[in-house]
Symmetry: C2
Subunit: 316 residues, 2 copies
């Protein structure tokens, strides 16, 4: 039996590990809770245990892990992971590799989701592809000239952190007027609360303190004017920003994923309408803007596909 290639999707609450079975396909994953509060060594031990459960106790031939934060893939070092206390500067690839006795590569989780969409999903068959994920925050991953693009620091693809409005609110990183400050789920919920506090009439008033972007989506689907306007504003800001990316990168496909993409035309109609405000006609005509295909599984698909890419074809 050949030794396995393994992909791991490390989240702030859940670890998923699976053996690659082909380009972008994998066995049923092993799931374990992430003991984030116990610190990085406890988390890496939990990852190693999940991996060995997935492989039947054998060391993998190679492992790729998606991490929820910026990192240096060449050095295998995590710069920071907001939901994983103590991971700043962690040599995670080296530590996990020593625990498992196999080579380990790291990638940012959004980059791997983009790589998955390129390998098997909405970006399949393209050379230049942009994946943008819109959920609590806004992130992304890009394949340019047929390769996952990570740039000099390894952190490229932070698509939520393009400046779109000097007068706009800050994103959660404190950058004034970033796309994420207008177009994320967090931003939509904040703006809804602000409008209610300012006395605007809306069925969102019934949502109370737990109001989030899903409440806004439900209200918009029921015709609520405030909720519809918030999705229109977010879609329009995304469309303008993605129009700028069409001018800068001329991708063949831009795929929109993440929780807010489930709102469908509520978000996509204003997004598509805003694109030609900014994008030149020629590269826009060569670009398809679509909903991502793989859903929430894309992080794990990306990790197993990346393991296969980095360590050779997946064995049977």
């Amino acid at each position: 039996m050949t030794r396995a290639l393994v992909g791991v999707d490390l989240g702030g609450t859940l670890i998923r590990a699976a053996v690659a079975t082909g380009p972008g396909t994998h066995d049923e994953p092993v799931r374990r809770p992430t003991p984030a509060a116990e610190g990085p060594i406890a988390v890496l031990h939990a990852v190693a245990a999940a991996v060995l459960e997935a492989t039947g106790g054998r060391a993998p031939a190679g492992l790729a892990m998606g991490v929820p934060g910026p990192l240096d893939p060449g050095a295998g070092v995590v710069y920071a992971a907001p939901n994983l206390p103590g991971w700043e500067g962690l040599q995670a690839a080296g530590l996990l590799g020593a625990m498992l006795g196999c080579p380990v590569v790291l990638q940012n989780d959004a980059n791997l989701a983009g790589f998955a969409e390129w390998t098997l999903g909405a970006g399949r068959g393209t050379r230049d592809f942009v994946f943008v994920t819109v959920s609590t925050g806004v992130g992304g991953g890009m394949v340019l000239d047929g390769e996952l693009y990570t740039g000099a620091a390894g952190t490229a693809g932070e698509l939520g952190h393009m400046p779109v409005d000097p007068a706009g609110p800050p994103c959660h990183q404190g950058h004034p007027g970033c796309l994420e400050g207008v177009a994320s789920g967090t931003a939509i919920a904040l703006r809804a609360r602000a409008a209610l506090a300012a006395g605007e009439t809306s069925r969102l008033a019934a949502a109370g303190d737990s109001l989030d972007a899903r409440d806004v989506q439900a209200a918009a689907e029921a015709g609520d004017a405030l909720a519809r306007r918030l999705f229109e504003d977010a879609g329009r800001a995304l469309g303008r920003a993605l129009g700028g990316l069409v001018n800068v990168l001329s991708p063949e496909v831009v795929a929109i994923g993440g929780g807010l993409s489930l709102a469908g035309e509520l978000l996509l109609a204003p997004l598509r309408a805003a694109l030609p405000e900014i994008a030149f006609a020629v590269p826009l005509a060569r670009c398809r803007v679509v909903v991502a295909a793989l859903g929430t599984d894309s992080g794990l698909v990306g990790a197993t596909a990346w393991a296969a890419r980095r360590f050779g074809s997946a064995p049977g």
Copy 2:
């Protein structure tokens, strides 16, 4: 004698053609006026004549031409060239190749200037490099993963057409709130005129109807408050937009060229100050933001270097 590799820089008013003598070096160029008003065939005949003068009458082994407009480098077709009437959809590579009996490749002039800066100038030795040119308009060229990046349509690198402000003025293409609408020489002159028309006191009032960005630069250097504010606003908008590019692309070097870069710290000080408003600390620490090295010669250097890249090393 080996047949020559030739680079051509085609401008709206001047044709320059030169034989490549090494990677990014060339003989003294032949210069001819561009008979733009006589239409594309007359312009291409003038290019061919300049090329044959440069080579001593022999057909080149290969030719690369920079064109002032968006184009499809794979097909050798110009989409449009605002200063060259009749060039929309022109099969310029095929036509010029037939006139000269040699293979011809086209590239956008700003892309070639970026390629020149990467080959011999501010981006030398890097893998991921962004060149932005700030003059009448704002353009750019990018080398990503060690290759000139042009994207699916061939038009990538339009860095002046990122949206920076939903309330901003349109660029000359009519896109509301593009970077070019705030940070170009044209934008600075327009804003100066508007401020004067609104009654603001400034020594720029003396410039009269011919007021342009160079007048604003001279006034700023002399301490004029309005002129200094206009450069600060432009530098700040550029810095925020380039901060977004640092987040998206994580380049090793961003080089600023074009006429407005000659204003030096008037533009660069506010530009550098605005970068960390938007850029993450990690990719910003890995990125140098500098003035371009090659000046106005970069278009021709890029064309000869591109001829060498596409058709083999330059012969002696």
